[in-house]
Amino acid sequence: MNEGKREAILGRIREAVRVAAPRPHEGSGRYDSNAIEVPQTSREWLPSVPLDAEGRLNLFREKCSQLRTEFRFLSGQEGAAAALADLRNKQKWTVLGSHHHPMLDPLVQSLGLETLYVEQHPQSKSLERCSVGITACDALIAQTGSILLTARSAGGRALSVLPPHHVVVASVDQLLPDLPAAFELLYEKYGDNYPSFATLITGPSRTGDIERILVLGAHGPRDLTIILLGTNA
């Protein structure tokens, strides 16, 4: 199909911006009068993050509990396998959805359940029937309690949002301090060859559309579990 009115619109824009608008701090009203110098990075304005690794980990844990994300910090593969087996029994998982990844493969196999791997391109309908989607991720962010994942790192777009429970497995060196670091990572890791999809996940799906009362599990997963592996991950 065609490009539409590309040149006409660009022409109008060029014409329009020939006169620059007043800069935000220049004489545009009462609240703008005390001009602020623009620092180089938003890091200086956003909520602060502890500099040491332990402080970050504690902040991440605290954010998870505020967001109602289930957070487990475990020392190794065995601990993770036990935690997953526990969830499997408690929630009576039947079918798993996952993707192939060196950190996930042994864990998923240890659960001994029927598993749909996205690499085999299951239909959305079958993916929807999974009890849980287990994925890896690109990073965790202490500042906000978020998970950064992409279509490439976490098995595409649907696996982490369609099943009612999303389990993320990450290693402790993936924990980043803040949002600027997360975007830097995305930029540096993928260069010009981006995945078509990336998302920052912050807590289980939620809505407040009825009387502004918080309800979890609106359209995405109602449960979000993060399993963080401490050593030899």
Partner: protein
């Protein structure tokens, strides 16, 4: 026409303002938002600097919009995105309807996009014979009611759980429920298979990133993610002003939007989409279309004085803070974008003379300007619109009134004498009120004229 929009506003505003239930509902809905927002703001190292930084980034991109748009589009096209430039609403609608036809679509699922409300996309698609389903819970509710969204961010904030329960019972035949949780699950169940069935998913875009050629979508429910993951074709609709220069700018905008919009530190899902499914990815749409919409934005862009109105990230904070919005309600505006920002931009998007009355739907208290996370000079722009409207079509009665005022201030003795003569007449104003001409009658309908003092200050001063 001008008479119609303005008088509709007046009638509706009078009615809603007197509705105390409505007022209580809105106040209750905003109370928890206000607490959460203030807590979040307090966690920033420097909220004011963050606002200023965001405004500077928006200034930069808007004043070089042509260059950033070209970058943005070039990057997107290189990765297989089909970009369509729509000059107006009609062109955007036609493109999307033709696409639906080409794909032999049946069901179309939508995640929240105010831009699609602006171009009345749902009506166009429905008339062409497609089933269109809104998937955001609030939008789903107002769609079932056949209503427009009440608020940019909280489309159904004017409804109680009882009203929603009744609505679901009537339209979806669900069992009545008092619990927001159960009501949400009814919608979830209803919509689950729509995502899987749908042939096309339509979304909006909160930001476009020039540096990398991606759109950014902010949401909480996960409906945006499902809409852009499952259907074979994804169409995103985006105003041309939404482009920002760098990927790292999102580190500022995403938390700012959430804090100002809903009182969250960051919303639940912030997704970046930079094309259709790539060859090494297991799923995702085969086609990704981006419709870039002008629809008079370039006209607002050409007004350097008000260009900053295009900074808007549609957070809704100015609506929440506005005493007028809170009293007249979102539907009274009769516009796609309600509240202070709607009052500023609607005259540019849809005609100054038809919509200039919105410039007066303000107490000029400046609460909107104070809360705006991208520092749009909202209440001053309302004054600019008033000035522009008067300049382009002066009102003779206003002019006469100001002449009279200027004349009287030059002759204080005359004022003194007039006051003395009219003093005994003041009590009779109440009697003749019903037959007075329109603006005076309106002013007096909820007020009494003040009493005129027996002795004027001038006389008192002379005698002293």
């Amino acid at each position: 026409m001008s008479f119609t929009f303005a008088s509709k506003f007046k009638i509706q505003a009078t009615k809603v303002t007197a509705d105390l239930d409505h007022r209580a509902k809105i106040r209750a809905a905003l109370k928890s938002y206000e607490t959460a927002r203030d807590e979040r703001k307090a966690q920033y190292q420097d909220w004011q600097a963050a606002r200023h930084g965001a405004a500077s980034i928006k200034w930069e991109s808007l004043n070089h919009l042509d260059a950033y748009l070209v970058d943005f589009v070039t990057k997107l096209s290189a990765r297989g995105t089909k970009v369509f430039w729509a000059g107006n609403a009609q062109e955007a609608r036609d493109y999307i309807v033709a696409l639906a036809k080409e794909k032999r679509a049946h069901t179309i699922i939508k995640s929240k996009t105010m831009t699609s409300e602006e171009i009345h996309l749902n009506e166009a698609l429905r008339q062409a014979g497609y089933e269109v389903v809104e998937s955001d819970l609030g939008e789903f509710i107002v769609q079932l009611r056949g209503e427009a969204p009440y608020h940019l961010v909280f489309p159904a904030m004017h409804l109680t759980r009882h009203e929603i329960s009744d609505l679901f019972h009537e339209k979806l035949h669900s069992a009545p429920s008092e619990h927001p949780e159960e009501l949400t699950m009814i919608a979830r169940k209803e919509l689950r298979f729509k995502y899987i069935q749908a042939d096309i998913g339509i979304s909006g875009a909160n930001f476009g990133i020039a540096e990398t050629g991606m759109i950014s979508i902010t949401e909480n429910e996960g409906n945006g993610r499902l809409t852009t993951a499952l259907p074979k074709v994804h169409v995103a609709l985006m105003g041309i002003e939404k482009v920002i220069p760098r990927l790292s700018d999102l580190a500022l905008f995403l938390p700012l939007l959430a804090t100002a919009g809903t009182g969250q530190q960051i919303t639940c899902y912030n997704s970046l989409i930079g094309g259709p499914r790539q060859s090494d990815e297991p799923d995702g749409p085969d086609e990704f279309h981006l419709v870039l919409l002008d629809n008079n934005r370039t006209q607002l862009l050409a007004d350097a004085e008000q260009r900053d109105a295009l900074h808007c990230i549609r957070c809704g904070a100015c609506l929440n803070a506005c005493p007028i919005f809170r009293n007249v309600g979102g539907h009274t505006y009769g516009t796609t974008y309600q509240g202070p920002i709607g009052s500023v931009i609607t005259p540019h998007l849809r005609g100054l003379m038809d919509w200039k009355h919105l410039s007066y739907a303000s107490s000029l208290c400046g609460a909107c300007t104070e809360v705006c996370p991208v520092k749009i000079n909202l209440h001053h722009h309302l004054l600019h619109n008033r000035r522009n409207a008067v300049a382009s079509r002066p009102d003779p009665s206003e002019r006469a009134a100001f002449r009279l005022f200027a004349f009287l201030t030059r002759y204080p003795g005359l004022v003194n004498r007039l006051a003395r003569i009219s003093r005994p007449l003041v009590p009779f104003v109440r009697v003749v009120k019903p037959i007075l001409p329109a603006p005076i009658k309106g002013w007096l309908s909820s007020r009494d004229l003040p009493k005129i003092a027996r002795e004027s200050f001038r006389d008192y001063w002379k005698k002293r």
